[in-house]
Amino acid sequence: MTKFIDLTLSGISNGAVYAAVALALVLIWRATRIVNFAQGAMLMITTFIASAVINRTGSYVAGLLVALACGLIIGALVERLLVRPVENASPLNAVILTLGLYTVLVAIAGMIWGNTPRSFPAAFSLRGYRVGHTTLLFTPNDTFIVLTVIATAAVLALIFRATSLGLRMRAAAFAPEVARLLGVRVGRMFTVGWALAAVAGALAGVLIAPSSFLGPNSFDPLLISGFVAAVLGGLDSPPGAVIGGLILGLALSYVSGYEGTALVPLAALAILVIVLMIRPGGLFSVSQERRV
């Protein structure tokens, strides 16, 4: 029973981070219909920057904030400089572009910081809570992770639902031509979408780095989990991304706890195939009319 509770709690904590990456991918997908394979590398860069700031200043908060700010800037620059030219080309071109960007960013990180993974400080204690005589696998840092991701999702939801910026972004994504006629700066909205997504990604990087360590390729599995989570939930739905992340986190935690870590990638495949066979557009898809 204790094992089940432990696995559930660590699943929730991992799932929260997957959810943050999935949110980043969903935001970019909604804005520009592009799956950003460079997301893992972008958040790797911001996490390295956070690490440098924390080492220099000794302040975790400063590191986190700088990482988020850098995420904002990197996201906006990438969209404006690299992605804009391929936005209207074949969707595969954007995929190859983000793959190329991923490769370049990994190489740059290796050049600056070396290829050996290093440790990254956690915000709070990594010692589990004690209930009676047992120590849970859930730590104060996990609480921080879960709460931060919930807060981020809530803020993003608020931006999209309740602000004029959110309305303009939704309009730009839904009907770019009409939005442009109505005076929405569609291109700028795309840039904002990428920037916000990169902030969510940067957050995920800082949150998972204490357990995954920090190296140029440390976050590749995170991107894959995040993508699977986003597809599970439905790429058009931010709540779907969060739920997809949690489902995936829990399921993978149970599989690795009871059946061993070797099966985790296969389990992810099985879950994805089952969900997609029942709902081809993810759990939270809206059915769409198709026309000839």
Partner: protein, 346 residues
């Protein structure tokens, strides 16, 4: 119109002429090359097989797969297992590898008919990441992380003077030519037209009486078989071994990059893509060796150049190298005094 010209308009004849011409050129070229160059030719050949399969799938039928690296692994493991455990000879083992991969392609193809763009990408991505885990799960059969090794295939008695590399290049090229022949005929036949019709508009195609699901599944199966044959060549001829490490997730991404950079949907583009995937790592390594700097910079320089080349190529040639070549050809023909009108869209 002369008889030869009329014959060349028959797809089967044209493809045979093409394959024979390519075969003769490769036969002559491989004879004068060093062992190292012959290994490169063999690598290009297995890349071509996988890329041609993927380019027909992605370009002609409009389904994308980020799982072709794993499909190559299926063909590779099948071929090596049959050779080492069952004592099969090379040719039937390679064919069986392609057949086994085609069988794996059936459920993937059925799944692919239900999924659109990124959802299919996600499912095939999970396949590419998940499949190598099987090798760890059944170490008795698949040899775990270390994989399986085999003796390099030896040339037959009547060609026993050939070096192993030279023979390997021949085998690999023969497989690539088989793939070229089959796919060329597929693309230029009614089946190919059905594929493109389904790609362009599923509903309109089904109104015309095409079976959308069947057509797409068939494309996936054929594409999988080509990838399986490529994987078999990689394992038996080039590596003489098979291990999960030879089929990392990045292989699937490299294949996708090769297809798009070469020119989506074009078999000639697959040749460009294969050449790029073989030569680019070499060039970038040479470049890094010529460069004197810290180890960190030096060891990561090839990767950086590779990424930059991908980005630059996709920005300057959005339709791939073959698209660029076609545009150049059209421009040149427009400049010639008496431009021939194109008889047939290639």
């Amino acid at each position: 119109m002369t008889l030869a010209a009329r014959l060349l308009r028959v797809t089967l004849v044209r493809s045979l002429a093409l394959v024979i011409a390519a075969g003769v050129i490769l036969y002559l070229v491989t004879g004068s090359l060093s062992d190292y160059r012959n290994t490169q030719i063999a690598s290009g050949a297995y890349y071509f097989a996988a890329l041609a399969g993927l380019t027909v799938l992605a370009g002609q039928s409009g389904r994308i797969s980020i799982g072709h690296g794993a499909l190559m692994a299926v063909g590779a493991y099948t071929a090596v297992l049959l050779i080492t455990k069952e004592g099969w000879s090379l040719a039937p083992a390679l064919a069986a590898g392609a057949a086994a991969t085609a069988v794996v392609g059936v459920p993937m193809g059925v799944a692919a008919t239900r999924l659109q763009g990124p959802y299919l990408a996600g499912a095939t991505l999970a396949f590419a990441v998940g499949l190598p885990a099987l090798a760890d799960k059944f170490p008795g059969l698949f040899g775990g992380e270390n994989g399986l090794t085999m003796n390099p295939p030896t040339p037959p008695s009547w060609e026993s003077s050939l070096s192993l590399y030279h023979w390997g290049a021949w085998v690999a090229c023969l497989c690539a030519l088989v793939v070229l022949f089959v796919l060329y005929n597929l693309v230029h036949s009614g089946a190919g037209r059905s594929l493109r019709a389904v790609r362009d508009d599923e509903i309109a195609a089904s109104l015309c009486g095409l079976r959308v699901g069947q057509t797409q599944t068939r494309a996936f199966v054929i594409s999988a078989a080509a990838a399986g044959l490529g994987g078999g060549v990689l394992a038996t001829v080039v590596l003489n071994s098979v291990a999960p490490g030879a089929f990392p997730f990045s292989l699937s991404l490299d294949l996708l990059a090769g297809v798009v950079i070469g020119g989506l949907g074009s078999l000639v583009g697959a040749i460009w893509g294969a050449a790029l995937l073989v030569l680019l790592p070499n060039w970038t390594n040479d470049l890094a060796n010529a460069f004197s700097g810290s180890t960190n910079v030096k060891s990561n320089l090839p990767l950086a150049v590779y990424g930059v080349v991908l980005i630059v190529l996709i920005l300057i040639w959005p339709t791939g190298i073959q698209g660029g070549v076609r545009a150049l050809w059209r421009w040149l023909r427009g400049r010639l005094p008496q431009g021939r009108t194109p008889s047939r869209a290639a």
